[in-house]
């Protein structure tokens, strides 16, 4: 099978068939007209020969559709460049050793769920002693002093705490979002840090189910961590980056 990397299409069972499924609701009652509307929308999405395989009546004037079709679009895979954190992940022991050897002092990390977000699942998994899936959290690292400030922490309070504790890194988690409130929150933190002249003094790191490293860079963060991140990934980045920046004798 010869895949043309400059024209990659979705795959169903035959190369370049472009097979995809989509599902969506429409604010019109279920019926023949609604079904045709769904089909036409699929055409506009670039689906060739779309088939509405399911229409359900959601009542109260709404309908739901499952549509299969063949996507006419393709992308140039060979031209894609994704910025990546260059740091390879180290183990718990390796991180502690690196900090001990190259920095010679404890690394201070302050973490919180900011703004209106009350969901600490992510930040707890990374920071709390217990960690996640058998991988210890930052609190357990002997060479890291980690402070988990919990949920619904105002950005200003988080920065104030970072100054007070002379933090090397600030970790922000954003889990629940609606109408992109998480982006506003994250942007505000960067702006506040800049306004207070802190931006160059700490590593700003964000994480959450909708965060990617690329998005984090765009927002002005040093790094971003998405789904599947383990505590040692974050610890590795922080330790190595501090070493790279020569932050050993900073304090």
């Amino acid at each position: 099978m010869e895949v043309n990397l400059s024209k990659v299409k979705a795959y169903g069972d035959t190369l370049n068939d472009g097979a995809v499924q989509v599902s969506f609701s429409l604010p019109v009652p279920a019926g023949d007209e609604a079904k045709e509307a769904a089909r036409q929308l699929a055409l506009k999405m670039g689906l060739e020969t779309p088939t509405v395989t399911e229409m359900a009546d959601l009542k109260a004037g709404f309908s739901f559709f499952v549509v299969y079709g063949h996507l006419s679009h393709s992308v140039d895979y060979s031209a894609i460049k994704i910025p990546k954190r260059e740091q390879k992940s180290m183990s718990f022991e390796e991180v502690n050793e690196l900090i001990k050897e190259k920095l010679g002092r404890k690394v201070v990390v302050v973490a919180a769920c900011t703004g209106s977000d009350a969901h600490t699942v992510g930040i707890d998994a990374i920071v709390n002693m217990k960690g996640f899936a058998g991988e210890y959290g930052l609190e357990k690292y002997p060479e890291i002093e980690a402070y988990n400030l919990g949920s619904q922490v105002p950005n200003a309070d988080l920065l104030a705490k970072a100054v007070e504790l002379k933090a090397d890194a600030v970790l922000v988690s954003q889990v629940v979002t609606q109408k992109n409130i998480h982006l506003e929150n994250l942007t505000e933190l960067v702006e506040l840090a800049e306004a207070e002249g802190l931006r160059d003094k700490v590593l700003l790191i964000c994480g959450g189910p909708r965060i990617t490293h690329e998005l984090a860079m765009e927002l002005g963060y040093d790094a971003g961590f998405g789904p599947g991140t383990m505590p040692n990934h974050v610890a590795s980045y922080v330790a190595a980056e501090l070493v790279r920046r020569g932050s050993a004798g900073k304090k």
Binding site: S23, F24, S25, A56, L58, K59, A60, G61, F62, F64, S116, D117, A118, T120, V121, D124, N128, K130, G150, Q152, V176, T177, Q178, K179, I181, P209, P227
Partner: protein, 525 residues
């Protein structure tokens, strides 16, 4: 309900008895205190409504002024009744006068006790009669409606705008939901006042306001009428305004309230003392209004491991039950919470879920148990989540759960879209119908994995309760017994609102609600 786990009755009795002692320890001091929100709730019950130009509720203005004058410990009722006597005005007129600074707290002379109580009792009985009438209306509507199958299908709407909520709630009801909860704006639990009027902007949910309650209630009643069913409405009597939200719910005919005794302390860092005092009054109101409360033990399993900490849920359920009973709730009004949160990758995890769910069922046979869906281990793979939710629904119907908060395929992604809710309802309907009587047909193997797990959970829960009784619930929370979260007795938000009751404190609602007294027309006149 058929018993299948062969639990040791003496362990169950010991656990319940110990939880009762823990509750009694709290009750040895709870009634010595009042809080700002208890007094505001009383103001609302007495008919004080509305806000000033800055959006501050008149109930807050009155209570703040009393607090400034050092009168909070006497309660709002004696002052308000004295003002009614002195000025021959309604509570609302007095509140307006205070707001406009036409009246000062110190302008009102203290009325003679007997006269003051007479005026206060009359108003309180009128308020109680209104709540009873609302309760009566619910009971009548439920009687006339088709009897729903159990587990009841419970869904959430969370658009941020009450008008959008009303549309989505109605659609969900028409699709088959029995219960609709309107999730609150994420920060609301930390507001020390209740917002006012219809609201259209909220994040992660919609503000709980009395007008918002009314709007969604109306939408659900319409859907109920269309389908010959009664659709239950849920909100959150939690946070810094537990009793006030209970009052609003009692008046606007909410049917259920999330109303946990510990949740605010653990998950919102609200002061311990404040929460214990508030939950008691709040639950008394719910008890009187015939509202079913939902407890929040499911949350423990999102911050800890569900397999390792399963017993903390059981221990907390016993405590919530005992506290609830002491606030006048019946067992049938206490929907104890638990959750399907064991890592789905675990071998025999399903058996462990069955053990926990069946254990809850057998320990609390009269409670309308509320079962919460997997959230911690679900991912952006909506297809996998849909399947995990199916297993959750299966365990529920198998073990006789009563209130099923349906899991959404997009749980880990966003607040539910209309189609997410539809798919979840379809999932629940299919499994509940298709396996309706499976639980009646299946026994659990003697001394097998499920029985062993259940016995282990009960044993650990009982030990934990004994330890809590020994050190006191406050110390247990300080040491992180629940959800691995530690809170200090003096820390947390809202401590300023706690006041010791003075000797002449008076509030007729405590006795009225706790005794469940039904005002008669004779007593009203």
């Amino acid at each position: 309900m058929q018993k299948k786990l062969e639990l040791e009755q003496k362990t169950i009795d010991l656990a319940r008895d110990t939880a009762g002692k823990i509750a009694d320890q709290l009750h040895s001091w709870i009634s010595d205190y009042t809080t700002s929100t208890i007094e505001r709730a009383s103001a609302r019950l007495l008919g004080i409504d509305g806000v000033d130009d800055a959006g501050v509720p008149l109930a807050n203005i009155m209570v703040e002024k009393l607090q400034e004058a050092g009168l909070l410990g006497h309660g709002l009722v004696p002052w308000l009744a004295s003002a009614i006597i002195a000025r021959n005005e309604s509570p609302q007129e007095i509140a307006e006068a205070l707001k406009e600074d036409k009246l000062k707290v110190t302008d009102i002379p203290e009325a003679p006790e007997e006269k003051m109580q007479e005026v206060a009792d009359k108003l309180a009985l009128e308020a109680a009669a209104e709540i009873r009438a609302t309760r009566g209306k619910r009971e009548q509507m439920m009687q006339e409606a088709a009897r729903p199958n159990k587990p009841l299908l419970y869904v959430i709407v969370a658009t941020g705008s009450v008008y959008e909520d009303a549309i989505q709630a109605k659609a969900a009801a028409l699709q088959g939901a029995d219960i609709v909860a309107v999730i609150r704006h994420t920060g609301q639990s930390l507001l020390d006042y209740v917002p006012y009027g219809p609201t259209t902007e909220g994040f992660g949910g919609t503000y709980a306001t009395q007008e918002n309650f009314r709007i969604v209630r109306e939408a659900l009643d319409e859907a109920g009428e269309k389908t010959g069913r009664y659709i239950q409405l849920v909100n959150y009597a939690s946070g810094l305004c537990m009793p006030e939200i209970s009052v609003m719910g009692a008046v606007e005919r909410l049917d259920m309230m999330l109303n946990d005794a510990l949740y605010g302390i653990l998950f919102r860092d609200i002061n311990m003392k404040r929460t214990f005092i508030d939950q008691h009054f709040s639950r008394m109101i719910n008890a009187y209004a015939g509202i079913v409360i939902n407890t929040g033990e499911d949350n423990y399993l999102t911050t800890t491991d569900a397999y390792e900490k399963g017993h903390t849920v059981i221990a907390s359920q016993f405590i919530n039950e005992q506290l609830g009973l002491r606030s006048g709730l019946t067992e049938e009004q206490i929907a104890l919470g638990h959750a399907f949160e064991i890592n789905p990758d675990m071998e025999d995890g399903l058996l462990m879920e069955i053990a926990q769910a069946q254990l809850c069922r057998e320990l609390f046979p009269s409670a309308p148990l509320k079962y919460m869906p997997p959230t911690k281990h679900v991912t952006g793979d909506i297809f996998r989540t849909y399947l995990v939710n199916g297993m959750f629904n299966f365990v529920s119907v198998l073990t006789g759960q009563e209130i099923q908060l349906l899991g959404m395929p997009t749980e880990a992604i966003h607040t539910p879209y209309i189609s997410d809710r539809y798919l979840s309802i379809a999932n629940g309907q299919y499994i509940f119908n298709n396996a309706r009587h499976l639980g009646d047909e299946i026994m659990i193997k003697q001394d097998g994995r499920i029985q062993a797990r259940a016995a282990h959970l009960l044993g650990e829960a009982c030990e934990m309760l004994q330890e809590i009784e020994r050190i006191g619930l406050e110390s247990a929370i300080e040491q992180g017994f629940f959800a691995d979260i530690k809170r200090t007795a003096e820390g947390g938000k809202g401590k300023d609102g706690v006041a010791g009751k003075e000797e002449n404190y008076y509030n007729p609602f405590f006795e009225l609600f706790l005794n469940g007294s039904i005002p008669t027309e004779g007593r009203l006149s």
